[in-house]
């Protein structure tokens, strides 16, 4: 199902939680909603599910206005941030819940319920845990029960609110890959909330960046990484050095138009022979090494310069000496690695 969110605004008291957010999601797409804590991600999902009413704007499913439809009639699979599994029901009954509460005409028979639940439990690889209670499950298992419970009603849209937020890194990585495969297999239109940019880039078709209730930019992970529109997006999706254009002085290349210029720490090349001229097609910045962090495959240097500190990631090669703090260095950035930003 396609999902249209049409200039949705929501205010809690004085606080503008969502400010005219619009986004279209074609059928079968997995969109990551990415933003810092409090940016309105959960609020947007709750509005899509009908759990909150927007002050302005509309939510359309397949072109039909669903803004005033009650949640129970929307057929939306919602996986809550903290799962909200019913603690008094077994895994099986948690999953069966959505079937048992169907209107009598539509409700499957006991046998069909058993079948459908077993099928879904198999899909989420929990076949043998049907009799357990939520309290007896690990975090990853709870997560999958929550997903199974949401899937059993054959949702038209799947909404996942930081589904892996409470899990440790290895489980996260495994589950997110599995989730992506499952989503593609089912062809389910899905919104996935996270504030982990790596997770978003790893599995999503598109990323939507939300900050302070405003949708800043949407696009494929690669587009957002290489062509961020604002310094917030540039900084949020991977790390970036952001400089005011005038601070570059005469060295500013002609192609740069915005008020600010950004580049990725990995794109700068460090050299200690500051006397040598900059290679052609490169922007040169010079400064002194302030601080050094060894991060495994790279070494991150902080370089103090007039006009703002920059960070440069140098690949680490065993046996190579670190550059000592205090050393005068030059940083050369190829012109095509410079991103111009409007704000």
């Amino acid at each position: 199902m396609t999902l249209h969110i049409d200039s949705v605004s929501k205010r809690f008291g004085q606080y503008q939680a969502l400010d005219s957010v619009s986004i279209n999601i074609p059928k079968g797409e997995l969109v990551a909603l990415l933003g810092p804590s409090g940016s309105g991600k959960t609020t947007l999902l709750r509005i899509i599910a009908g759990l909150e009413t927007p002050d302005q704007g509309r939510v359309l499913f397949d072109g039909e206005d669903a803004t005033d439809v009650a949640p129970r009639y929307r057929q939306i699979g919602f996986v809550f941030q903290h799962y909200a599994l019913f603690p008094h029901l077994s895994v099986f009954e948690n999953v069966a819940f959505g079937l048992r509460v169907m209107a009598r005409e539509a409700r499957p028979s006991e046998e069909q319920i058993r079948e459908r639940v077993s099928e879904i439990l198999k899909l989420v690889r929990l076949t043998n845990l049907g009799e357990r209670f939520p309290a007896q499950l690990s975090g990853g298992q709870r997560q999958r029960v929550a997903l199974a419970r949401a899937l059993v009603i054959r949702p038209r849209v799947l909404l996942l609110d930081e589904p892996f937020g409470a899990l440790d890194v290895t489980v996260r990585t495994e589950l997110r890959r599995w989730l992506r495969e499952l989503q593609q297999e089912l062809g389910l239109t899905t919104i996935f909330v996270t504030h982990d940019q790596e997770e978003a880039s790893a599995i999503c078709d598109r990323i939507a960046i939300l900050n302070e209730g405003k949708l800043l930019q949407t696009g494929s992970p690669v587009d957002l990484f290489t062509m961020p529109a604002t310094s917030f997006v540039a900084g949020f999706l991977g790390s970036a050095n952001i400089l005011a254009r005038e601070s570059l002085g005469a060295g500013a290349p002609v192609g740069i138009s915005g008020a600010k210029v950004a580049f990725r720490p990995a794109d700068g090349k460090l050299s200690t022979s500051a006397a040598a001229p900059a290679p052609g097609g490169h922007l040169r910045l010079s400064g002194t090494i302030q601080h050094r962090e060894f991060l495994g495959s790279i070494v991150r240097y902080a370089i103090a310069r007039t006009g703002g500190e920059v960070q440069i990631d140098a690949p680490f090669k065993a046996g190579e000496a670190f550059i000592a703090p205090g050393t005068e260095v030059a940083v050369d950035i190829p012109h095509d690695a410079l991103i111009s930003l409007n704000s």
Partner: protein
């Protein structure tokens, strides 16, 4: 856990506690049982199954069941209204819940009797439509309702306050209507608290004295409650009789107490969330 104790005062505080509990609580309770044991089994049985005693159990238990049933519903609704809704006068209503607890039972007893007597504020209009409350089992039930109401409200209320709204959100996303959500999600989650409140209220109804004796009529074989029978036996200096009846009351309370805590721990095993 046998840990080296850094904090002081265990011997003193525990010593004081044990001595006090033994003298003030355990010894008197044991004395009732001892006294009852001085009777032969046959004598004991004759006393506690005499028609008059049996009739007090019947009236006490039936009235307590009726009052508890009423309060299970009314107390639940009361807690619900206090937690879920905002309205003018809510604070006052919340404070009213504790009145039956703060007001001495004898005062409640005489006041309810005066209110429901044939010439009372409520008794007069009720009498005109043929309902008699004072000096009938209905009066006993009303007195029991009055005294045991706070226990159900105050056990359900905090649990309802803590109930995560996401459970309801999840249920409605899954297609559940209000009634289904109530029946399949909210009520089961409140059940342990509700059961605790119900059983405590019931125990209190069984043992209540002051609030009831004024309004009950106290006719042997019809409106005489068990605690009054024990009281009468004392007044008659029939101490073995009093001991036997008191033992029955004591055992009834203890049984309900133990059953409740078993039920709760059984229920709690599923519900404990990490």
């Amino acid at each position: 856990m046998p840990q080296r104790r850094i904090l002081p005062g265990l011997p003193l505080s525990l010593g004081v506690t044990l001595v006090y509990v033994t003298l003030i609580i355990a010894l008197p309770v044991a004395a009732v049982l001892l006294k009852a044991m001085s009777l032969s089994l046959g004598e004991f049985w004759n006393i506690v199954t005499s028609p008059r005693a049996l009739s007090t159990y019947r009236i006490t238990i039936l009235c307590a069941l009726a009052a508890t049933l009423f309060n299970a519903i009314f107390g639940f609704a009361f807690a619900w209204v206090l937690v879920r809704y905002d309205f003018p006068g809510k604070r006052l209503l919340d404070t009213l819940v504790d009145v039956p607890f703060a007001l001495p039972t004898a005062v409640a007893g005489v006041t309810l009797t005066a209110l429901f007597a044939k010439n009372g504020w409520f008794g007069a209009p009720l009498a005109s439509i043929g309902i008699e409350v004072a000096y009938t089992p209905l009066g006993i039930i009303i007195a029991m309702i009055f005294t045991s109401l706070p226990f159900i409200v105050r056990t359900v209320q905090p649990v309802l306050e803590e109930l995560d709204p996401e459970f309801e959100d999840a249920a409605s996303c899954l297609g559940a209507g209000d009634l289904d959500t109530m029946r399949r999600v909210i009520l089961p989650l409140l059940m342990p608290a509700l059961l605790a409140g119900i059983s405590f209220a019931f125990v209190r109804c069984l043992g209540e004295f002051g609030a009831i004796i004024f309004i009950a009529g106290n006719q042997p074989l019809s409106t005489e409650i068990t605690s009054l029978l024990a009281f009468i036996r004392v007044e008659e200096f029939d101490y073995p009789g009093a001991a036997a009846i008191a033992t029955v009351m004591l055992l009834a309370s203890l049984t309900i107490l133990i059953l409740t805590s078993l039920a709760q721990s059984w229920y709690g095993r599923h519900l404990t969330r990490s």
